[in-house]
């Protein structure tokens, strides 16, 4: 785009003024570039800001023909009161924290051990295991839901934290293994060899040398897995049936009222469950970007 404008201006202007011309085209480029940056920011933020605004608007503003652009004056906390009062949304949040948190933490330890073994230790058939883990992460999730449901049912694990957490742990393992594998491979071997010569056991070497060095990778893997577990909907819908075990995505998906769409309450609930994630992303953006580009991660 910038190149096209340069040539257009260059062609239109007389030769003698080429220097002034160059400045003009440079300024124009600069402006176009700033506009592009502005559009990207606007595109990324506006929908969420609009929801934030809606969460403070009284219902009559939300159903009015003309939108109210700002939450003040006349803003209200009624929707938050309703969400955390009669709708008892904190129940879903607690469930999500328990399920996604435990699955991520326990999964992280399992994946840490597994990815270290794959990255470092001399094992036959490692390529096969890695290939298997990669291949399995390609299966459509819907293909796993029904069989897992049929496994969990006779074990009385439907509508429990354990049943859903166990499934999340297994499903986020490939991703965590892959991210940490990449990080472990990037750690210089000399440190471990020195520890081994000093007589440290493998476990001890991992715990006191490798993990501290690979901590960025561990944090990255944990964060991304947590974010994915936090927003998972399909399994949660299938495996849980009562609000005392249902997670946040199910709570939001099932949001209904009898006579009208409760946009205000819905926005308040959405904002409440999204703000912590947004803060995490802003704090750890470098880690997360590293994880995305190393692992090709996507929900």
């Amino acid at each position: 785009m910038t190149a096209a404008t340069t040539t257009a201006i260059g062609a239109a202007a007389p030769r003698t003024r080429s220097r002034a011309n160059l400045t003009v085209s440079r300024t124009l480029r600069r402006v176009l570039f700033d506009v592009a940056v502005g559009l990207i920011v606007l595109w990324s933020l506006t929908p969420f800001l609009w929801q934030l605004n809606a969460s403070f608007q009284p219902d009559r503003n939300l159903s009015a023909a003309v939108p109210t652009w700002l939450p003040f004056p006349g803003g209200t906390l009624d929707h938050y009161r309703s969400v955390f009062g009669e709708r008892h949304f904190q129940g879903y949040i607690v469930n999500s924290v328990i399920v996604a948190g435990t699955a991520t933490l326990v999964g992280l330890f399992i994946a840490m051990a597994g990815s270290y073994a794959l990255a470092r230790l001399p094992l036959p058939g490692k390529a096969v295991v890695l290939g298997l883990i990669l291949g399995i992460s390609m299966f459509p999730q819907i293909a796993l839901v029904a069989p897992l449901y049929l496994v969990l049912r006779p074990l009385h694990l439907l509508n429990t934290y354990e049943g859903l957490g166990f499934s999340y742990m297994g499903l986020s393992l490939p991703l965590m293994v892959f991210i940490m594998y990449a990080f472990f491979r990037g750690i210089p071997r000399e440190m471990e060899e020195a520890a081994a010569i000093d007589g440290a056991s493998t476990i001890r070497t991992i715990w006191s040398i490798v993990i501290p060095l690979a901590l960025p990778g561990v944090v990255t893997a944990g964060l991304i897995a947590f974010m994915l577990n936090w927003q998972e909907l399909m399994l949660a819908l299938a495996f849980t049936s009562t609000p005392d075990r249902q997670t946040v995505p199910v709570g939001i998906a099932n949001f209904r009222a009898l006579f009208f769409t409760p946009w205000g309450d819905m926005s308040a609930a959405s904002v409440a469950v999204t703000i912590p994630i947004v803060i995490l992303v802003l704090l750890f953006q470098k880690r997360i970007i590293a994880g995305i580009t190393a692992g090709g991660v996507k929900e």
């Binding site: 340069t6 920011v41 009015a64 939108p67 794959l118 926005s267 947004v278 190393a294």
Partner: protein
């Protein structure tokens, strides 16, 4: 939920170099202990992956050849009858085509838009770190929330998008974005593009940053315009990464569930019914495990075909580049 794949050259699956060992006797000893430790460390991962992924997939395949319905108390082998029924079923074909359409259009838009984002973010400017963080926000917002958000923005009665379009004069009457057959799929695609473009942008940005600036500098000295440099230097260099990112995106787009489930429920008139939502309904609303499993197997086969097509395409491109 997750797709994992090598998207950059730093992550390979090749075997690591064997560690240097001091003596022969020492090597045998260390090897065995390391082997035991390694196996013990790897075991939980392998067991979990087998239990939560491989076993269910195999059981899905097995169930797809049976007629299993807890309601009718039936469970018998029916061969490929389920597949025959699906292929003859209008609803399945509709969902299959919808899914392919969604996958193709959203992947294409997200790749192009992501490339645009990445080109902008690849330039140094003040506050770039912040912009990059802001770009991540749509990706981080739970998809269920995204669905609700777009439902609100695009509401047929009090949605702000309709209000703005009416004010500008582009439309005469509000559009029912989620309830009109002509717009519902477009709405889903739009919401998906919003959510996923950042992911594509970051993958492409990583590729852009691996292009050595010296190439651009010397080409600029030779008088190549920036458009020319983009076509002859940037594009060929990032093409492999771009194609792999698109492949990962396409495989993931093919499984879309959350957006149609929450935003349209598959409607109106099944115009946004995709394979995941159709399978889910067959499995859990209809309790037809055989038919539902066959749907998921056909879905997996289609994904494998998409992956194979991409692989062939990528391989051919590489050959062209080498030759």
């Amino acid at each position: 939920m997750t797709t994992v794949g090598p998207t950059s050259t730093t992550v390979g699956v090749e075997e690591p170099k064997p560690p240097a060992q001091p003596t022969r006797a020492g090597r045998d000893h260390v090897s065995f202990r390391d082997w035991m430790t390694g196996a013990a460390l790897l075991l939980p991962t392998v067991v979990m992956v087998l239990a939560v992924a491989l076993y269910p997939v195999l059981r899905s395949v097995w169930m797809s050849f049976r007629n299993t319905s807890p309601i009718l108390r039936e469970d018998n082998f029916v061969g490929v009858a389920n597949y025959g029924q699906l292929l003859a079923d209008e609803g399945f074909r509709n969902a299959w085509l919808n899914t392919l359409w969604f996958t193709a259009v959203s992947t294409l838009i997200e790749t192009l838009l992501g490339l645009g984002f990445a080109l902008v973010l690849n330039h140094p400017f003040r506050g770039r770190g912040w912009v990059r963080a802001v770009v991540l926000i749509p990706w981080a917002i739970p998809t269920v929330v995204t669905s609700r958000m777009f439902g609100f923005l695009l509401d047929g009665q009090s949605g702000v998008v309709n209000y703005l379009l009416l004010q500008v004069g582009l439309i005469d009457a509000p559009i029912n974005f989620t309830g009109d057959v002509r717009f519902a799929m477009g709405t889903i695609i739009m919401a998906d593009v919003w959510k996923t473009t950042p992911f594509m942008a970051l993958l492409i940005l990583a590729a852009l940053q691996s292009v050595p600036p010296s190439l651009h500098e010397s080409a600029a000295i030779d008088g190549a315009s920036s458009w020319r440099r983009f076509l002859s230097i940037t594009m060929p260099m990032i093409m492999p990464a771009l194609l792999i990112a698109s492949l990962l995106r396409a495989l993931d787009a093919f499984r879309i569930f959350d957006l149609p489930y929450v935003l349209t429920g598959g409607g109106p008139a099944d115009s946004t019914e995709v394979l995941s939502t159709l399978s889910y309904k067959t499995l859990f609303s209809g309790s037809q495990y055989g038919l539902g499993s066959a749907t998921t197997v056909l879905m997996f086969l289609t994904e494998a075909a998409i992956a194979a097509l991409f692989a062939i395409w990528i391989a051919r491109r590489f050959k062209i580049l080498e030759g």
